[in-house]
Amino acid sequence: MTPDDILKALYDETLVGNAPRVLELTEEGLGLSMEPQTLLFDALIPSLEEVGARFERGDFFVPEMLIAGRAMAGAMERLRPLLAETGVETIGKFLMGTVKGDVHDIGKNLVNIMLEGAGFEVIDLGVQVAPEKFVAAIEEHQPDIVGFSAFLTTTMPMFKANMNALEKAGIRDEVIVMVGGAPVTQEYADAVGADGYAADASQTVKRAKSLIEAKRTKVPA
């Protein structure tokens, strides 16, 4: 296979969630001395973006999305140490969790995969993360961004509770807050005082990058 064949096959096999084949192709690509970044940015990420687009259009449902995500995560596992070695700079640290009372985590996990792929260091606190736990983890890991995910009408109000906990701990201004999940809208994000919202994984990556950029270039008053 030529490098071009590999990229094409990697894209196609990720799209259909063929995890073992994706891993094989990743190996083959590396065997041909292809750059890990090339495999990632020219095949794996575009493929998962296409998966997201098909999901939006209703051509894919959750299981297709999950197996594609899993295939990409498998390849990431293999590429992660190599990416670190090649000295690709991490864009920033992203702390993520599903809010207290909610155990929906598929959307969050997908965001995590894309963030990692794009060069973020991701710390995942899992599901049902209470406000105190977010606060403690922010103090411990000093992330650039903290992300709250919620999928239920009844758990969305935890965003506000989390914000209050950050305020109370005096760390609100130290971290960028992003929120997301199926019921969340830009208006809702604004209402709870979050810094950013995104409707899907690839937009989360874009938004996260621009928020970090904005924060780093901001001259302190």
């Binding site: 299981p63 999950l66 197996i67 899993r70 207290k100 155990v103 985590d105 899992g126 009408t153 199926a182």
Partner: protein, 194 residues
């Protein structure tokens, strides 16, 4: 009068209507819309507009059902009333009881008679568990129990519910709600016209 009903409650709703002798025709929409709630509001709008031409009054047998307010906008637009609450679980069991279940165990997965009876189609196949059984833990790894809100638990349904919970690897709690909640909610919807 026409009642647009989510396919997941159309049958029990029709039974309640019959029992009370209400002059109401039940018009179901596909139950699988539940997994694509972004399509519910548009479909309800289209059906309501069509039915509005032949019925004096149209009411909506949906709760918010994951439309996150989109259905309310349609109802406001067309002057329709819908079932109260967030989903049919609220209607069957009451909001406060559900809150208690979720407070006790956030990892509670709810079933109704409809979901028990159609489990293979509405849950197993929709979530792809037939094709990818290994995804079970990806979906349900954080869940701790199944609570079946039972309307009419007969032997057959009990066996199916037990199978469903076992398939998910979770213990089953049966809570007999009957259909009083649904009857009350429907009565509130149809009352002004009866």
């Amino acid at each position: 009068m026409a009642l647009i009903a989510c396919g997941a409650i159309a049958q029990p709703a029709a039974a309640v209507v019959d029992r009370n002798g209400w002059p109401v025709d039940v018009h179901p929409l596909p139950p699988l819309l539940h997994n694509h709630p972004d399509r519910i509001a548009d479909q309800v709008r289209a059906l309501a507009e069509r039915l509005g031409r032949s019925y004096g009054r149209v009411v909506v047998g949906y709760a918010d059902c994951g439309t996150y307010g989109a259905l309310d906008s349609v109802c406001d637009d067309l002057g329709l009333q819908r079932l109260p609450g967030l989903h049919c679980y609220d209607v069957y069991a009451g909001r406060s009881r559900l809150e208690r279940f979720f407070d006790e165990q956030p990892g509670t997965y709810l079933l109704t008679d409809f979901l028990v009876r159609s489990f293979d189609r509405t849950v197993v196949r929709e979530l792809g568990l037939d094709r990818y059984p290994e995804l079970r833990d990806t979906y349900f790894g954080h869940y701790t129990r199944v609570v079946w809100l039972a309307q009419e638990p007969d032997e057959e349904l009990r066996a199916l519910a037990a199978d469903a919970a076992e398939g998910l690897g979770l213990p089953l709690t049966v809570v007999e709600t009957g259909d009083h909640g649904l009857e009350q909610a429907l009565a509130d919807l149809v009352r002004p016209a009866v």
